[in-house]
């Protein structure tokens, strides 16, 4: 009983985030948490109770980084306890105290990239990947924010992420849009923010907003769910209004098709299922636009998985912070679900595509039928005549 004496000291910010919505200790979050399924000792509910009783710093290193920040717990919670926001605040708070960072899977590649991107006076060529036949401009009404995509193929050689960018430009060109692609663009800061490096995130946000505002563009389009959630929801908290409308590529396509400005004329005869990316789905509440795009493409047959929309299962990695041997079992589980519905898994986030493709490129923990991972924008581009 001694251990349950109320501890002294004011609650910290992270604890305040938890406490604002009273947790009723029902454990629904845990029963829906993907990490809990592969590590029974990991439990958001347990972490909350531990924080209530012993202070939030009691969080173990494992619990701090194992959370995918996917938000499934919050989506099912009757009182909407914002557990991912708590984890983010805690990663931020403990960074300076314990000087610890995410156990990044790629030798710190993404972290180093973000740090370099935050430097002033960067001299980048962000268009080298575009290739012939695609039109981009130095200025215009529409910005195509490419995110870290131009830099990914050097590391994730098995994915050819640049094809998503090429597809996006092809689709925009087909609708008469010549998007601006800027060499001044920086990393969106998603991983920095979610891994507790607020300083780098804010620097990146400020550097980006500078050229975005100066461009005079009216719209900014992303093909990445992470960039979308940052620019649309997190940047305004730091830098105020961006003076542009931020849209995800699937929202743009849906709009162009509805307005008759874009027509898919070439059938793409594929049976597909759709992975709601956490950052586009639960974090940004956009579930319908990608499905509308898939339905607009002739020949595409969409077969839904059992766990979709708010209850969709994460691709297994959040902000490149937590990929380990157990992640592979989560990826196997989700890909088995996908393979039971279709031969193609479509997603709307290059990072889901990378994580799933990486899994298929390595040694699956159990046999898997052939499954192709495709980006929705890529599929749309294939349907252009």
């Amino acid at each position: 009983m001694e251990a349950l004496a109320p501890p002294a000291g004011a609650p910290d910010e992270a604890l305040r985030i938890l406490a604002q919505e009273g947790c009723i200790q029902c454990n629904k979050c845990t029963m829906n948490c993907p990490v809990h399924r592969v590590d029974v000792t990991f439990s958001p509910r347990k972490t909350i109770l531990q924080a209530y009783l012993g202070g939030s710093d009691a969080l173990s290193e494992r619990d701090l980084w194992a959370c995918l920040t996917c938000g499934e717990c919050q989506a099912v919670c009757a009182t909407e306890v914002p557990f991912p926001a708590f984890i983010r605040a805690k990663r931020e708070a403990l960074r300076s105290v314990r000087e610890r960072t995410a156990p990044c899977k790629h030798g710190g590649y993404k972290e180093i990239l973000a740090k370099i991107m935050a430097k002033p006076n960067l001299n980048q060529d962000r268009r080298g990947w575009i290739g012939d036949g695609l039109q981009v401009a130095d200025a215009g009404d529409v910005i195509y924010f490419t995110g870290c995509m131009p830099y990914l193929d050097g590391v994730f050689t098995y994915t050819d992420t640049a094809r998503i960018g090429k597809a996006a430009i092809k689709v925009m060109n087909a609708a008469g849009i010549v998007p601006m692609v800027s060499n001044a663009e920086r990393c969106c800061g998603h991983d920095a923010l979610w891994n507790g490096d607020r300083e780098t995130f804010e620097t990146l946000a400020r550097r980006n907003v500078e050229w975005i505002r100066a461009s005079g563009a009216k719209r900014l389009v992303t093909t990445c769910a992470e960039c979308y959630s940052m620019l649309k929801y997190e940047y305004p908290k730091v830098v105020g209004d961006l003076n542009v409308e931020v849209v995800h590529m699937t929202q743009l396509i849906q709009e162009l098709v509805a307005a008759g400005k874009l027509a898919f004329t070439k059938p793409v005869d594929l049976t597909v299922t759709y992975q709601d990316p956490c950052r586009l789905g639960r974090h940004s509440k956009e579930y319908d636009a990608p499905r509308a795009v898939l339905r607009a493409i002739p020949g595409v047959k969409l077969v839904e998985m059992d766990r979709i929309r708010e209850n969709s299962m994460c691709c297994g990695v959040g902000a490149y912070a937590n990929c380990d041997a157990q992640t592979k079992f989560l990826q196997q589980e989700r890909l088995e679900e996908a393979a039971s519905k279709a031969e193609n898994l479509v997603t709307a986030c290059p990072h889901c595509r990378i994580h799933f493709s990486c899994y298929l490129d390595g040694q699956p923990v159990d046999p898997l039928p052939d499954l192709k991972i495709i980006d929705v924008t890529d599929l749309a581009a294939q349907a252009l005549g």
Binding site: L4, P11, V38, V40, L49, Y52, L53, A78
Partner: protein, 503 residues
């Protein structure tokens, strides 16, 4: 040797055994396991074990008998009776993974259920008819939500599902949970046809298979006193086609809670006698029950439910059932002129149920204070009297009463919420005592905590015959007395954990 040293010695022995047997576990000051859904605590446990199958359970129980170690089974820890909390020195046995994992110990969210008939013979759902008596054979760590996901494609569902669809079947059985389906199938225990349990002899563990229906019913509500239930055959039922279903919303408002209760009590009595339904639920509406931006406020049919004239109280009652069996409902409702009746769609029913579920949980910057949150009124004619006493006792306190209408009684849930300050918590406790005195009276035919089990309140609120029954059951299944011996000690008392929160 001091008691503390002896306790530490047996924990060390158990740790050595667990390492040897390679059963996952966690040791230390386990603050995260200090309570369950009850917010009651018996202290901070120091060891929790996560067996994944019957063999691991049997090995653990064998060890416990030989070393005189007390075990406290726990499902997902959603129980609201404090029975899944462990007193110092006991080992908490988390059975969430039991029969729900692959050989590596990883839980699969999706699984193919094994379906059997009443004799335990495998059955094919694809060929099943709507009147077939079928069961899923599931590990005790499985949940209704997971199983329903697996059954949905075949058009079937678990027959009795508590609002906590994520609670384990082992927990549902041990508390004899009630929920949707109870009006048709009875409490959870009535929907179980067979089970396996790791019990004890005086020398060690023994695994029993219980197939006698009466014995299964006797065991239902055992509260972890008899052993570790590892597998169950759980009744399933076909999901009726939408065109065969009816969902109804009945609404009444008044300034007088007693009048509301008396009217609705009369109506419920008629419904219980003349209708067959799957679910009967009620809640009281107040201005803050849904957020101002909640889309339900814009629903053309449901939106008006949340607009309330000042000083009035609105009670809404929701029924769902097959059309065949619910024919009398509109007629009965028409006999009560103050009651507005309308049919609603299943999604609308679900939306209102979500409000009902959230109503008990919503506690902005506050904690739920346990105490008298669950009582059943056997005679609907007393409902008005009970409600007026209840509202008089809880006047000014936060917390919202909601409940179920079961054919054998009206179940009311009420839990106050308190800011985490000593003054607020003490006020909530005092209010609960007032509430208990006001409503828990035999002449009102009210009994405490029928639905969620008695748990730590077995002696405070349970009848002597119930104590005796549990003692007899325990002596038969657990002669070594390793399972939750504390629950049968009259002096055992849980403490409200919220007073230790630092928020």
């Amino acid at each position: 040797m001091s008691a503390v040293a002896r306790e530490q010695g047996s924990i060390d022995e158990t740790l050595a055994f667990l390492r040897e047997a390679r059963i996952p576990h966690q040791a230390g000051e386990l603050l995260g396991y200090a309570t369950d859904g009850s917010f009651l605590t018996l202290g901070v446990p120091t060891l929790v074990v996560f067996p994944k199958d019957e063999a691991e359970c049997a090995a653990l129980v064998d060890h416990a008998v030989r070393h005189g170690i007390a075990l406290v089974p726990r499902g997902t820890g959603s129980g609201t009776a404090g029975a899944a909390t462990a007193p110092p020195g006991s080992v908490l046995v988390d059975l969430e993974r039991l029969g729900a994992c692959d050989a590596r110990g990883h839980r699969r969210g999706l699984f193919a259920p094994i379906v059997v008939d009443a004799r335990g013979t495998p059955a094919d759902l694809a060929k099943a008819g709507p009147d077939d008596e079928l069961y899923v054979r599931v590990g005790a760590g499985r949940t209704s939500d997971e199983t329903n996901r697996a059954l949905a494609g075949h058009g079937w569902t678990v027959a009795v599902v508590p609002s906590s669809g994520y609670s384990t079947f082992g927990g549902n059985f041990a508390t004899n949970a009630r929920g949707s389906g109870t009006p048709a199938f009875g409490p959870f225990g009535n929907a179980v046809n067979r089970l396996r349990i790791v019990a004890t002899t005086r020398e060690g563990a023994r695994v029993l298979e219980v197939t006698d229906r009466e014995e299964v019913r006797r065991l239902a509500g055992h509260h972890g006193l008899c052993g570790l239930v590892t597998e169950l055959d759980v009744r399933i039922a076909p999901i009726p086609k939408p065109e065969d279903m009816v969902c109804a919303l009945l609404s009444i408002e008044s300034e007088d809670a007693g009048h509301l209760g008396a009217t609705i009590g009369g109506l419920m009595k008629r419904v219980a006698a003349e209708c067959r339904y799957f679910a009967g639920e009620f809640l009281f509406i107040d201005e803050g029950i849904v957020r101002p931006d909640d889309p339900i406020r814009k629903d053309p049919v449901l939106g008006g439910t949340f607009v309330l004239p000042a000083g009035r109280r609105r009670m809404i009652l929701l029924y769902r059932g097959r059309k065949e069996g619910m024919e009398a409902l509109p007629r009965i409702a028409a006999e009560f002129p103050e009651v507005a009746y309308r049919e609603i769609t299943f999604p609308q029913f679900r939306a209102l149920m979500a409000v009902r579920t959230a109503a008990t949980g919503k506690a902005l910057r506050r904690v739920n204070v346990p105490g008298a949150e669950d009582f059943i009124i056997y005679d609907p004619a007393r409902f008005g009297d009970v409600l007026s006493r209840m509202f008089a006792a809880v006047e000014g306190a936060s917390g919202r009463p909601v409940g179920h209408h079961y054919p054998d009684g009206i179940e009311v849930h009420y839990r106050p919420q308190a800011a985490v300050t000593r003054a607020d918590i003490e006020a909530a406790w005092a209010m609960i005592q007032k509430l208990r005195e006001a409503v828990l009276r035999t002449e009102l035919t009210v009994e405490d905590r029928k639905e969620h089990g008695l748990g730590l309140a077995l002696f405070r609120d349970g009848s002597p015959s119930r104590h005796e029954e549990l003692r007899r059951l325990k002596a038969e299944y657990d002669p070594a007395n390793v399972f939750c011996p504390h629950l049968l000690l009259p002096e055992i008392e849980g403490r409200f954990i919220g007073s230790s929160f630092r928020v």
